[in-house]
């Protein structure tokens, strides 16, 4: 499992980095989404991989923490998902507005001389 997830994180991150270095705004926004998947999975995996042990406990009494998945990375990633949604929305609007003002979808607002 670990090797697959690590490779997945690597592929997502590489695709994301490649895209955010591209000159078209839509490429950058897709790249940011992919990069946020990679980062979210990375942060999440720092709690190690546990299966069928969601951090939802029975009521009351003492629990053995080792029997459950680490809740802290999950809480962090939950926040990260929300914030990356917000930044994606904001970037989308900036993208649309920039396209409206400059007439091009190049990230610098003007096409580079070929």
């Amino acid at each position: 499992m670990e090797i697959v997830l690590s490779l997945a994180i690597g592929v997502l991150a590489a695709s994301g980095i490649w895209l955010i270095l591209r000159p078209r705004t839509f490429q950058v926004i897709v790249g940011l989404c992919l990069l946020s998947y990679a980062v979210n999975l990375f942060i999440f995996s720092m709690g190690r991989l546990t299966m069928a042990a969601a951090p939802v406990m029975p009521r009351g009494g003492f629990v053995d923490p080792t029997a459950y998945a680490d809740p802290v990375p999950q809480a962090l990633v939950l926040t990260a998902i929300v914030i990356s949604f917000a930044t994606t929305a904001l970037f989308l609007v900036v993208l649309i507005a920039s396209r409206g003002v400059t007439g091009t979808d190049h990230v610098d607002g003007q096409d580079r001389e070929p």
Binding site: M1, E2, L12, S15, R22, D70
Partner: protein, 960 residues
């Protein structure tokens, strides 16, 4: 106990005066002066009371507990040395207040002057009575900050602004050095308590870090007390109003540096290094300062450099550090404060009444202002060290110390010569001041006709000059006991009582004094005229202006260097910036992890599930595909992006994170819809972008590919290695153990979000609200590109009907889904505390319900039937969350403390009813509002364009 309280009151009084003075009307000169003066006079009364209990070498201490858990207390401490200094500060402050009352013009704003002046007094007193060396540094910094405001009081003038900034930068840098020195010193001594540090001299001097501490400490002291080569800020600070100069640059601020030198001489002193650094710097400053003073034409400039010289003298004495030297240093601090304050005030009077401070234009003032002239002459005689005046005695003691044998080094042997040389210069500049300003022909062509100032403007000068005379004639009676006690408080030994007398017989110091007097007179007689004609500074040296050097350094470091770096590394294009950011991130990770990242000897691992691998095969292909397609096939890229997101979401579900899976799924839906809506406004991309097949473009892409591959491979390697190591027990265990007991919920992730870390969540939803409003505002002024408008055509009725038919079945289903989705949202919300779900996912679900209605029908159809006011949802949500947090305050708990219990509802059964649930309601409402606001704002753009079109067409029809 009473003394302790009096000490606290003493430290607080100036701040009280500042509070009073800063609230008076901006023209109430008298009211401010009276209130501040009386409050300070009360301080002097307290000092008189405290004097009795300090006489036998006791130390007053009192402590206010501040942060006991960190061992941080506000410790106050006073011994005879501090008492003397505080008395000096209070006394001169009162005189300066009286003087300033007549000096300031009626239009100068009163509250700012008096308020800041009193805060400065408070900072100075606070620094003096600090019993903790960190607290001392805080007050020290406060004096630097406040002096900036005082020097820049007339901020309309360029000179005042420059002088203030320079003083702040120089003393501020020194303050940083002092802080470092104090931190290290505290570590070495094992305590930040002043008494314990003072007692740790042996340990400190033996410590390997002693040279570092010493240099840092001296940097702080030397910058503050204007020692070479940091002296240049003091003349620049003469742009301040004269009362400020008289207070800061004769009696208080610059004396803070020498105060600290003397205070810490038992700890850091008595070594060869200390002697060379301190006495060497002091002597250099003394000689050069006195020399430059002789050549200044500006009255205040002369006094400034003379101050630098006298501070050098005190520093040199502190460097010598013998019992007599410390006593002489303390004595000279007092004497210098007295005569220099009176001289500054006299110079201010001359400036005030004649309109100029240029000694070449002033002359013969004795006839026009005889009283002021006589006072100034006596004070400058004290400055020159003429017998029967106070300056003479302490200077004589300095000569005696200089002539004494200390350690036989070359510096020690040259001390008497240097001291005599400086003495000659001091006599010369004092004489030049007197002869050129007060004697000679009557002045011509002055901006104002000089005359005597108001009587009360002269009173402070009279008082100080009287003090010069009385101390000068009866030193043993007036200051003898106080000085001896102060020296004992510093050196902490049973010093023999040193009698301070005028006459010690005809000895070497006496000879040195006489040589200095005669030499000074001869120097002025021979070269006085040439000095007056020459440039403002000694020959050769005047070209080397430290101030200009400083400005040059400032210009280079704050303007040229940044510009240069910006030209090299800066760009206004996004791609190089992002590339640099990515490269920097890779480099940072590489540096941090190089060598320390090793696979675990016993790798941890879960057995591979082929289904998981197959799933990620698809997911990885989706990611690569969307990266490939994003340029020319945006819609395909979007679908593939959704595929990668879906696999991510399944991974969360697979690996025991149901909350994440739910949230990711819902957010995925909303994000995709958002992006689809945005696609409409992007340019068509039917043919290839020109230049895409050029070699340069290929090279760029290859370079970026390498960067992407390195980044991706690095992240993969890091995560794999980390995953093979077992998890160390961390805070997560605590959350798991206490989620139910403390937070009343069984879904730990949700409990963390709405209870343990609710404040973070509060911040997060605030960010969401800000983003939503920003989106809304940006889109209000949105003007689409012409290309997008051209492609916008109004559909014919037949086409509309066809489309409606095509979407009939989905639209009916979507309409029916509305109540279902509302139920799902409610379900997710209520169970959130115990099972996966919660306010956030419920909110997104509800906004998807709204969204579906928009998709199923056109915007107008929805908005005639359904009113959503997103801004209100957001506002109410934020209010609920905030008020829940504040509710905890009512019950005496910190902000956002949650209370939890279960309540039984009819039909539904037992549901968790923690206050966290109310907080979650706020989250829910805000998320609904923000998401709907963003989606609707984008969706409305088409509607706006359509309306615009209709209006245009109507106008055209009318015109036709």
């Amino acid at each position: 106990m009473m003394e302790g309280n009096l000490l606290l009151i003493l430290a607080g009084l100036p701040f009280l005066a500042a509070a009073v003075a800063s609230t008076v009307s901006s023209r109430a000169h008298s009211a401010a002066a009276w209130s501040s003066g009386l409050i300070l006079a009360a301080g002097l009364a307290i000092l008189a009371v405290l004097r009795g209990s300090l006489q036998n070498g006791e130390i007053l201490r009192t402590t206010l507990r501040w942060v006991p858990s960190l061992g941080l207390d506000l410790a106050f401490r006073m011994d005879a040395f501090v008492w003397l200094f505080v008395t000096l500060v209070y006394g001169i402050a009162i005189l300066v207040l009286i003087y300033a009352r007549y000096y300031l013009s009626p239009s100068d704003p009163v509250p700012r002057f008096h308020g800041v002046l009193m805060v400065f007094t408070g900072a100075m007193v606070g620094m003096l009575v600090s019993g903790n060396i960190l607290m001392l540094v805080v007050f020290w910094e406060l004096t630097s900050l406040v002096s900036f405001l005082l020097i820049g009081y007339w901020h309309q003038g360029q000179a005042a602004r420059d002088g203030a900034r320079m003083a702040l930068i120089v003393t501020g840098i020194g303050g940083m050095a002092l802080l470092l020195a104090m931190l290290i010193l505290g570590q070495i001594a094992g305590s930040y308590d002043l008494d314990r540090v003072l007692a740790a001299g042996e340990v400190v001097r033996a410590h390997p870090l002693y040279p570092l501490v010493l240099v840092l400490f001296l940097l702080g002291c030397f910058t503050k007390s204007a020692q070479m080569p940091f002296h240049f800020w003091l003349p620049g600070a003469m742009a301040a109003p004269t009362p400020v100069s008289a207070f800061l640059h004769s009696a208080t601020m610059v004396k803070a540096g020498v105060f600290l030198l003397i205070r810490f001489s038992p700890v850091l002193g008595e070594t060869q290094l200390w002697f060379f650094l301190v006495t060497g710097t002091g002597m250099a400053t003394l000689v050069l300062g006195s020399l430059i003073a002789l050549f200044r034409h500006d009255l205040k400039g002369l006094l400034a450099y003379s101050t630098i010289g006298h501070l050098g003298l005190i520093t040199a004495l502190a460097g010598i550090g013998s019992n007599g030297a410390i006593l002489a240093a303390i004595f000279h601090i007092v004497n210098h404060a007295v005569f220099k304050a009176s001289l500054f005030m006299a110079a201010g009077i001359i400036d005030h009444e004649s309109g100029t401070r240029d000694m070449r234009r002033l002359s013969g003032l004795m006839r026009l202002m005889p009283m002021t002239g006589s006072l100034a002459i006596v004070a400058s005689a004290a400055m020159a060290g003429v017998p029967l005046l106070n300056g003479f005695i302490s200077k004589e003691m300095f000569f005696a110390e200089a002539a004494d044998w200390h350690n036989g080094t070359w510096l020690d042997n040259s001390l008497p010569w240097l001291a005599t040389l400086a003495g000659i210069f001091a006599v010369a500049y004092s004489l030049r001041f007197i002869t050129s300003v007060f004697f000679g022909p009557p002045p011509v062509d002055l901006p104002k006709t000089p005359h005597e100032p108001p009587a009360w403007m002269r009173r402070p000068v009279e008082f100080l000059v009287l003090a010069c005379l009385v101390i000068g004639m009866l030193p043993g009676l007036t200051l003898g006991p106080v000085l001896n006690q102060a020296a004992r408080a510093v050196l902490g030994r049973n010093l023999p009582y040193k009698d301070i007398a005028i006459w010690h017989g005809f000895n070497l110091p006496m000879v040195m004094s006489l040589v200095a007097l005669a030499g000074g007179v001869v120097l002025v007689a021979l070269s006085g005229a040439r000095i007056a004609e020459g440039p403002e500074g000694p020959p050769l040296l005047h070209r080397l202006r430290a101030q200009r050097l400083f400005e040059k350094v400032l210009l280079v470091t704050t303007w040229r260097a940044p510009r240069f770096l910006h030209d090299i590394f800066g760009t206004e294009r996004l791609q190089p910036q992002l590339r640099l950011a990515v490269l920097a991130a890779i480099a940072a990770a590489a540096v941090a992890l190089w060598g320390s990242l090793a696979p675990s000897p016993q790798p941890l691992g879960n057995p591979l599930d082929p289904a998981f691998a197959a799933m990620w095969l698809a997911g990885g292909a989706c990611a690569l595909g969307s990266a490939w397609m994003a340029k020319y096939h945006r819609f395909a890229a979007l679908i593939l992006l959704g595929g990668a997101g879906l696999v991510t979401c399944l991974t969360f579900a697979w690996l025991s994170a149901p909350d994440l899976a739910v949230t990711q799924l819902l957010v995925e839906v909303v994000t995709t819809v958002l992006l689809v809506l945005g696609l409409r406004w992007l340019p068509k991309r039917r043919e290839e972008i020109p230049g895409d097949r050029l070699v340069a473009a290929h090279l760029r892409r290859f370079r970026d590919l390498v960067i992407a591959l390195v980044g991706g491979a690095g992240l993969a390697a890091v995560s794999y290695v980390l995953l093979t190591w077992p998890l160390v027990p961390n805070v997560g265990d605590w959350f798991l153990r206490n989620a139910y007991k403390e937070g009343g919920g069984t879904n730990v992730v949700n409990v963390i979000l709405v209870d343990f870390r609710a404040f973070d969540t509060f911040g997060e939803i605030t960010v969401l609200a800000i983003v939503a409003i920003t989106v809304y505002v940006l889109l209000r002024r949105f003007r689409p590109a012409q290309e997008s408008l051209d492609s916008f055509k109004t559909a014919s009725p037949e086409e509309t009907a066809q489309l409606a038919d095509a979407l009939l079945v989905p639209s009916v289903i979507m309409r029916w889904m509305f109540p279902v989705l509302m139920l799902v949202a409610a379900y997710l919300f209520v169970r959130g505390h115990d099972l996966p779900g919660g306010g956030f996912s419920a909110g997104v679900t509800l906004s998807i319900a709204f969204l579906l209605q928009y998709l199923a029908h056109d915007v107008r159809w929805v908005e005639t039937r359904l009113t959503v006011l997103p801004i209100r949802w957001m506002g109410v949500g934020l209010l609920i969350a905030g008020l829940t947090g504040l509710g905890a305050l009512v019950f005496g708990y910190p902000f956002l403390t949650a209370h939890s219990r279960y309540v039984t509802l009819p039909l539904i059964g037992e549901v968790p009813a923690a206050t966290a649930l109310i907080f979650d309601t706020g989250v829910f409402a805000l998320v609904v509002g923000a998401t709907v606001l963003m989606l609707i704002a984008i969706a409305h753009q088409s509607l706006r364009i359509a309306r615009l079109r209709e209006r245009e067409q109507a106008a055209e029809r009318e015109a036709a």
